[in-house]
């Protein structure tokens, strides 16, 4: 399982466990499953999908960080979509 948090300046929009994350990185979509290597990437504009689309957020800019099955999505513009 992955621990995911979606963080915007105003609030933590989502915090919970899921089995997959698909994020719009700056150069195309990136998928993350359990056991992913530590990674840091910039985000572009698009839809962030958790657990195969059960949770969706539209994000623009910011970054995504993966460490030890913990995913942090930190973005200035994020809203549930």
């Amino acid at each position: 399982m992955l621990k995911v948090s979606v963080i915007s300046p105003e609030a933590v929009l989502y915090e919970g466990d899921t089995d997959s994350v698909v994020a719009p990185a700056f150069d195309g979509e990136v998928g993350i499953l359990t056991g992913h290597a530590p990674m840091m990437t910039l985000l572009g504009k698009g839809v962030l999908r958790l657990g195969g689309g059960s949770q969706r957020f539209s994000v623009e800019g910011g970054f995504l960080q993966v460490v030890d099955n913990t995913v942090r999505v930190v973005t200035e513009k994020a809203s549930a979509a």
């Binding site: 948090s5 963080i7 915007s8 300046p9 105003e10 609030a11 933590v12 990185a25 700056f26 150069d27 990136v30 290597a37 530590p38 990674m39 840091m40 990437t41 910039l42 800019g61 910011g62 970054f63 960080q65 460490v67 942090r72 930190v74 200035e76 513009k77």
Partner: protein, 287 residues
């Protein structure tokens, strides 16, 4: 009974004032709680940004980023003074203005030209009154400042800093430590003071690379510092207003006590006098 009626009028008016101040106290309390929640909610984002920047930052990279440029001499600086749009909050705005004037005086004493940017009607009113040039002003930022508000405030300054037109940006705001303590503080947001370097603990896969990521994140970091200042200002304003209105309510209660006593004394004196007159009159009739 002329004096009595006058006192009664004053008692009524103080009672009405107390009703208003008590209501304002309650409104400020509830708004303060909500503003305080926003201060707390802003923390994870700031923490995440600081973590990442400090793990990517290394002194060798510093020279490549305009936002990390540490000018040897500050020729021109921008000061963003945050104040509230409204008053009735004790010395809240006055203290902020005082702090802003202190930093302007310090910078100008060092031979720096200071551009003044103002948020809030109260600060704008003051600096207009003393005849200081205000470069930009915003009086339309609500009780719920957004990240966009912060971006609008600081983006132009960030660009000007990157171009080398200004050498420092300061924000004057009340640092909301607790409900009782929010000392006015001047914080330097540009050049970015690099966070203490947490040695890069892990071999991250970096996409695209450390430089580009850092280059993207530094402006976010600057905007976030301003956003937090705005949020803390709102919370501190309502905390100050609550205290001021609580004091006003207490003072009104004290005043009512004294007025009530004076009124009763006057009433008793009138009655005593009337009785004395009646007794005197009766005695004269019998005699």
């Amino acid at each position: 009974m002329a004096k009595g009626r006058e006192l009664k009028g004053r008692i009524k008016s103080v009672e009405n004032t107390r009703k208003i101040t008590r209501t304002m106290e309650m409104v400020a309390t509830s708004k303060m709680k909500r503003a305080q929640d926003r201060v707390t909610a802003a923390r994870p984002y700031a923490q995440a940004l600081t973590d990442v920047i400090s793990s990517l930052y290394s002194p060798e990279l510093a020279e490549q980023f305009p936002l990390l440029r540490q000018p040897a001499k500050i020729k021109r600086a921008a000061v963003i003074a945050l104040t509230a749009n409204r008053g009735l909050a004790g010395a809240f705005n006055a203290n902020l203005i005082k702090e802003a004037r202190a930093i302007i005086a310090r910078l100008e004493g060092e031979g720096t030209a200071v551009d003044l940017h103002i948020v809030g009607k109260k600060g704008l009113g003051y600096f207009r009154y003393v005849g200081r040039t205000v470069v930009t002003s915003r009086i339309d930022i609500s009780d719920r400042p957004t990240a966009e508000n912060a971006a609008e405030l600081v983006n132009d300054l960030t660009d000007a800093f990157a171009r080398g037109e200004i050498d420092a940006v300061y924000v004057v705001y009340p640092a909301f430590q607790s409900v009782l303590s929010a000392p006015p503080t001047a914080v330097q947001v540009l050049p970015v003071k690099p966070p203490a370097t947490g040695a890069r603990q892990r071999d991250y896969i970096l996409a695209p690379d450390a430089q580009t990521i850092l280059g993207e994140l530094l402006p976010l970091y600057v905007r976030n510092a301003v956003y937090r200042a705005l949020v803390e200002m709102t919370a501190a304003f309502y905390a100050a207003q609550r205290t001021a209105m609580k004091n006003a309510t207490d003072n009104a209660s004290d005043m009512l006590k004294i007025l009530g006593r004076t009124y009763n004394r006057a009433r008793q004196a009138t009655i005593t006098q009337e009785i004395a007159e009646i007794v005197g009159g009766a005695a004269a009739l019998q005699g």
